[in-house]
Amino acid sequence: MTALLGTVGVWVALAGALGASVMLILTLGIRQDERHNRAFPWVAVMVSGCVVAVVAMEIALLTDNFSLAYVAANSTKTTPVLYKFATLWGALEGSLLLWALVLCLYVSAVSLNFRHQISDRLVAWALLTMLVVCVFFFGLLAGPADPFGTLPNPPVDGNGLNPLLRNHPLMAIHPVMLYFGYVGFTVPFSFAIAALVTGRLDERWLTSTRVWTLIAWGSLTVGVLLGAWWSYEVLGWGGYWAWDPVENASFLPWLTGTAFIHSVIVQERRGMLRVWNLCLLLATFALTIFGTFLTRSGVIESVHEFSASSLGPLLLGFFALILVVSVTLVGLRGDQLRSPGSIDSPLSREGSFLANNLLFSLFAFVVLLGTVFPLIVEAINGDQLAVGRPYFDRMLLPIGMALLLVMGLAPLLTWRSTAGSVLAQRALAPAACGAGVMAVAVVAGAEGVGPVLGMGLGGFVIGAALRHLVIAFRRNGWRGLVGRSGGGMVAHVGVSLLAFGFIASTAFSEEGEFQLRPGDTGSVAGHHITFVALTDTMDGPNRVVRALIDVEGRGIHSPAITQYPTFGRPIATPSVATSFIDDVYLSLIAIPEPDTDSVVIRVLIEPLVAWIWIGGFVIGVGTLLAVIPVGISRSARREEEVVRR
């Protein structure tokens, strides 16, 4: 019954998407622009169908309806309710259903927002592009990735998700945030395509999608960081980023998206870089689809990998279609895209945005190359090789440092051209801030040129951002802190905090492994940990062994190790005693032998990790501030318009 409801929902949604697309193609074709709004009822049908399908899946999950193959494979009776709910995005088919739902939300929001401008061909083309993407995803759900397949003989209980996916509440938030980011880039992509098709390549389409791009970017940023946090809290190796192909897949659109939200400022302000900005948007969306292909086709080995499926060729085909359409359109409109104006001096705001774009593109290139390189080599000569973390660290750290430098310089530069003496005056306080951070870091025990220089650059960025915020606040009061420049600078502060945490925790972490009997103490980097006792309990069908550890000054912490009946090897759950200075990261190595009372504990001391999460929060706040429209006074706006002319 539920399966039927879900299947009907998917097909209704597909019909709605097709109906709306056909309607728009017709009205666009016969140039009856006042009739574009006839697509709206079909959009409503699509959204309703999708909601019905999602509700059906949730009902099936929450009521343990194991006649559905998806529920039987990914849920169990004993799964806590929160994770039953989150199982919707725990595996391949369900995650595509969530993708479709988020896409429907964006389509609804765009339709509502632009309902009065739908007779504008640009808006109609954008909606049509979005609907074509919807058709593709509902097409997947209706056939090759059907989430509502049923089993003739339903099992009494299901298999359950991989235990790693059901022991931390972040699992309920991280994928949703990530999808809001990933899918959100469909909106600016669609407007870019629409601008290319209609030939209306002035800056108006950009302004109308500004907020959407920022929301997508902010969600993606927070989503990626939540994933890192989840990995840190759950996986037990003490890291948060492994340059795993799936992490890279979510990071690639972030890189090109970040390049875009910066270089688009040059276009809005000076009307330049039109082709480049379009290409960045098209690439960002294409990379989201490419990432989906990498993670859902089974071509790459990864901890995140979804079960191997037949979706590979379809996703690759869709990716190719996007690429062909984009390249063709940009090629056809090439002459119209040539932008007027020129950049006078490398030492200018525009110049710094160009440097930013160069570095971000290079960064993205290295990540993409490193991710697909093993596949390419294997295809060419059959060699199996790995491109791992040391490669990414070595190649990307210099680019990251250069990015920090540009990030600090950019807010100090004026448009068009900056005199050296002006820069020397403006950079003084930020440079002092950077030097101060370096001195503090060395006094606190930091070593090595690279890490200390990196922290100094972080201080420089914070100094430059704060300088900008203080000036803006003096000039405009609280309104100086919102809008793109205010929010952007807050985000810069967040990125620096994140950089501090990243540098300190990678460069200065220390570790120790201790075999302890109750009452024994071990110490690493000045932290003393005492093993108090071991508990061995049953949590439903799962055996949970906990070691109670007293971390000096931070109370009792209990790393655990759990044996699930449906899952072979035991799963270790680390425990983190956190502080603003450093984290004491405890994990149990193995279930202790029955005849001993000693345990083996791995202890990692990781300085400043907490600042990574704080930095992520600040970036999120900065994005929200940037989305708020600037309510600058009318006279100021008039003044700006005069300047623009």
Binding site: G239, D344, G351, F373, G388, P390, Y391, G445, E447, L453
Partner: protein
């Protein structure tokens, strides 16, 4: 630039240089045997656990590789010999660092090549923009200036 500002910059420069010198001095002396083993383990991937290195993994095979690395370091083998030995045992993809020779070396070379090329293009674009801005004075302009000069 006034004297006060010059002094401030000098002070900042001193602090930066001082901090960097301090950072270099604080760095540990050259690697001991144990540290060398640690660094090798950091770049060895556990063959069964999707991207974790052998230090991070609790899998039995990771423990075995750790022990083998310690043993080989004790025997006085060089880093390169140990890596090659591991690649023979577990396949080339046990090394987290792609090879520096053959087709695999491209992954190291390409980013540098692309980076240099892109920077060169950017510099070229700047010089073109700059030269495009230079406006040649017309005959008329030259005439006006000449008459003005003659008058004065």
């Amino acid at each position: 630039m006034n004297g006060y500002r010059r002094l401030s910059w000098l002070l900042i420069l001193l602090v930066v240089v001082g901090a960097l010198v301090g950072a270099v001095l604080a760095e540990d002396p050259p690697a001991t045997e144990a540290e060398r083993a640690y660094e090798i383990k950091e770049t060895m991937l556990c063959p069964v656990c999707d991207g974790q290195n052998v230090l991070e993994s609790n899998a039995p095979v990771a423990a075995a590789i750790r022990a083998q690395v310690d043993e080989l370091v004790d025997e006085g083998r060089t880093d390169e010999e140990i890596r090659a030995w591991m690649a023979r045992q577990y396949g080339d993809d046990v090394n987290a660092n792609p090879p520096r020779s053959g087709l695999g070396a491209l992954v190291w070379v390409l980013p540098v090549f692309v980076g240099v090329l892109a920077s060169a293009l950017l510099v070229l674009a700047f010089t073109r923009w700059r030269s495009g801005r230079e406006i040649k004075p017309s005959e008329e302009d030259v005439q006006i200036v000449r008459t003005l000069r003659e008058k004065s």
